[in-house]
């Protein structure tokens, strides 16, 4: 399913002294089956943007196309539930939304809201709990007896069990330990590859964005600052550093080589293997 934002603007608390322009002039498109990373400082409007992807927020100007539906500023929309089923959002700190007596019931909650029968939902719960790397024994426990990391995984399983076509992730690994972080990111990537789920990831980690994403969108002060493939985005690392954003270590290393030793590269390297090859090539060219 393709999601397109056309000239979207969003203001919080319109007509109050707290009115706040959170998004403006946003034009982006996320194609079926792609992996998009959204990067930007805190307060740049990433979470606000995400909530437009399943019509939790309606633009105050412009249009959002979600599959064959159109969400337009100033027009009442009915029957949004099908959109919510197709576009699953894992919010920041999703463990805060757990509420049911058992992990199983909590995971079944989403699917059953969308009309799945109890038996099928239990099936989905079992599948989802395995996907997030937890054992089935946990299903009978209370979600409030789990560790922070386990709660996070259960909450993610609750969204996966809805079997969305598009998965939207708002900093899903914030506050996790490095290992848990990698496991979860790899899990999402595998799911994306295996089942063709379109994935949209908000992250602060340039490494993750460079490693997993087909497209990167850089948000700055409520609008799109730059968008493109990782190659395009990181071809001008200084621009990103000026904004106070990070670049992958490999790109930083290239920049350093270029500045201090005058080594020239044709393209940014996003992993160590590629970097080694390129350095080797540069040395052979002997342009140092």
């Amino acid at each position: 399913m393709r999601i397109t934002l056309d000239d979207v603007e969003y203001r919080y608390q319109v007509n109050t002294p707290f009115e706040h322009l959170a998004l403006h002039d946003v034009n982006i498109s996320m194609e079926q089956g792609t992996y998009t990373a959204i990067i930007g400082h805190t307060g740049s409007g990433k979470s606000t943007l995400l909530q437009h992807l399943n019509a939790l927020l309606k633009p105050t100007k412009g249009r959002v196309f979600i599959g064959d539906r159109t969400i337009e500023a100033g027009r009442k929309e009915k029957a949004l539930r099908p959109i919510r089923q197709k576009v699953g959002i894992v919010f920041q700190f999703p463990e805060h939304q757990l509420f049911d007596e058992t992990v199983e019931k909590d995971i079944c909650f989403g699917p059953m809201n969308f009309g799945v029968s109890e038996n099928d939902a239990k099936q989905l719960a079992r599948k989802a709990i395995a996907q997030v790397g937890l054992s089935e024994e946990i299903l009978v426990k209370s979600p409030f007896d789990l560790s922070g990391g386990q709660m996070r995984r259960v909450a993610i399983a609750g969204v996966l069990a809805m079997e969305p076509e598009v998965l939207v992730l708002d900093e899903p690994t914030a506050g996790l330990d490095p290992r848990g972080r990698k496991e979860i990111m790899d899990m999402f990537y595998e799911l994306h590859k295996r089942e063709g789920i379109s994935t949209i990831l908000v992250t602060h980690s340039m490494e993750d964005a460079a490693k997993y994403a087909d497209d990167i969108i850089i948000m700055h002060q409520g609008t799109v600052f730059k968008k493109g493939t990782p190659q395009e985005i990181f071809s001008d690392p200084e621009q990103l550093l000026e904004l106070g954003l990070d670049v992958p270590d490999t790109v930083r290393f290239q920049l350093k080589l270029q500045k201090e030793l005058g080594v020239r590269f044709d393209h940014p390297c996003l992993n160590i293997g590629d970097l080694a090859i390129e350095i080797d090539k540069a040395m052979k060219r002997g342009n140092r």
Partner: protein, 265 residues
Amino acid sequence: MLDKMIIGRYVPANSLLHRMDPRAKLLLVFLFVCVVFLANNFVSYGLLAVFTILLISVSKIPLRYLYNGLKPIFFLIVFTFLLHILFTKEGELLFEYGWFAIYKGGLIQGLFISIRFTLLILVTSLLTLTTTPISITDGMEELLGPLKKWKMPVHELALMMSIALRFIPTLMEETEKIMKAQTARGVDFSSGPIKERVKSIVPLLVPLFVSSFKRAEELATAMESRGYRGGEGRTKYRQLNWKTSDSLLMVSLGLLTVMLVLLRS
């Protein structure tokens, strides 16, 4: 969703009303609430309305914001109005249709009560809109200070109040966040059959309770680790100072009271 609520909200600005001593504003609200009950005819209600409008105009709170904030309370006002029309059978009969009858007394009573209600809400909202929770608490503590002699836990009460006020916006924010998260999981909070909607409260309330308890515990730990021991011997960083304008406000309120007493019919 809950953006429009103005109860307990502070709007930063630098108006005359903002700069006033919180004690003066608290006294104003308290006395106004009493004085309102003196009014019993159109002229005195008009006078109260003018006084309220003057207060609003010096507060620099945008009218549209006040209006939007009061919208959720309108139905309560309309409801009381209708109750009076239906059940007060006094004075001239104005209109009759079967069992349904409107009497002049009921109409006037209904009007007066609605005006009173609106004015009370406006004035109390003005207090919280122009005063930070912390100054309200400081003012409260000072005003109730004398009661300490009779072993009233004034400081503790003030602290409880300031914590409650402080966390209203946080709770609202949290409510909105969890509502959004559950909406994304297919809950429909705004439409559908009543039975479904009542059921949808559980996935909202449980997380709210859990996080509130957690927050209370964290706050207690933070206070204890910073050596909080209650009000005993505690000095104040923020000093209140009573200015001429505060005295003038009290005088004007006094004048209002005198006029209301004279206007009583």
